[in-house]
Symmetry: C2
Subunit: 209 residues, 2 copies
DNA sequence: TAGATTGTTAATCGATTAACAATC
DNA sequence: TAGATTGTTAATCGATTAACAATC
């Protein structure tokens, strides 16, 4: 079987729950306890671990610290993951300041924007002109980027990022990219997510009639 | 069959593509054209429409404007959807300023925060103290809210929102809420989304060895 | 009419859950 | 040993795709 986004999303949640358990002083955990903490079945937990070659002890459950180690490794927490971001607008800025990344081995090392007014080479996270992205990415061996630019320029920015060597993108522009064969794209679309809430709330409303 | 998040997300994308087609002067569309534009199969398109009672013409495809009308109705675009947001930090602010909502029948009508320094009753989007949320939501009959507060206060904020009458939440706090039986929650988790990109890029890297 | 496209049913694929033998 | 839990296989569930009769 092949690993899917759902698998990684669950591993991420297991990891988080395990840190909580560990802080509470627990040393081992059972699949049903962990499943309950994360909101999945015990079967799901064991199946997921099995897929990634993670083994527990019959009757003894899983050792929390070794489990965390394995998940750290799978999720790329052994090294700091360097990420760049293009588009220093509202969302770009929010992500740069997003605290959760810092403690999670994810570091936004630089931002890029076409607007010269946004450039700031001396900030905690330096912001460079977009045209410098190629050299920066090559020089620092960056493979992951975030797109947070307006729709109209998204394809153009995407092309530049790919040619610079970016292999994976977290994309906030509601766009289907052309030439996306050799790059992993993960889309986040606020409008779609909100429209889901709107639909299901309205459904519930009408159900009651 | 029951309607899922995936259905609504696809309808949202069909809708967007249809507006593009319409602007280009097209009046009808076939399931395979629309599918290609959105990145799904023609079967999927027809199945989706069928589920929502949307009918085309054998041999004649679907009339774009009536199709748009139906989707507008399903996705709640007949009326302006009023939304409140709690937590006026980086993400909260970014969402308030997010342009895409404005043209899409979604309006963030008010923000709430515990920090008195954030309060601003006269802004384009007024910001009120959190304690006023109950009265506001009741008075304006709001059912949808966004949570963009730090993890530690998220459950508390959630409880207040529910007691005020909120029925659907777009949630940015990486938290599983207690007492979430009668409310629709849609979670957005930047860390998990980025960890997915990291995992699949690293996989690709190691595959090449 | 011949050809093309819908709408729906059947087949396939994938993901989750249940069951249970292995075993600590 | 008896009881509990893993790890894996089988069963179920759900979502997507294929196929094709209906028909414009």
């Amino acid at each position: 079987m092949i690993v899917s986004k759902k698998h990684i999303s669950r591993l991420s949640k297991y990891r988080k729950a395990l840190f909580r358990f560990s802080e509470l002083g627990f040393v081992k955990v059972f699949s049903d306890t962990l499943g309950e903490a994360v909101g999945v079945t015990a079967s799901q937990v064991r199946k997921d671990f099995s897929l990634f070659g993670i083994h527990g002890h019959k009757r003894g459950g899983y050792q929390i610290d070794t489990l965390i180690d394995k998940l750290q490794n799978i999720l790329g927490k052994d090294f700091e993951q360097k990420v760049i971001i293009v588009g220093i607008g509202n969302i770009g800025n929010a992500l740069i300041k997003y605290k959760a990344f810092e403690n999670e081995g994810i570091k936004i090392v630089a931002g890029f924007d076409i607007d010269p007014a946004k450039v700031n080479r001396k900030g905690t996270v330096p912001i460079f002109p977009l045209k410098e992205i190629h050299d920066y990415v090559k020089k620092h061996n960056i493979t992951i980027g975030i797109i947070a630019v307006p729709d109209i320029v998204a394809q153009e920015v995407f092309d530049v990022m790919l040619s610079a060597g970016i292999k994976g993108i977290l994309n906030f522009a509601p766009i289907r990219y052309k030439g996306a064969e050799n790059v992993f794209i993960n889309n986040v679309n606020f409008q779609v997510e909100l429209e889901n809430v709107i639909y299901f709330v309205n459904m519930f409303k009408h159900e009651k009639d």
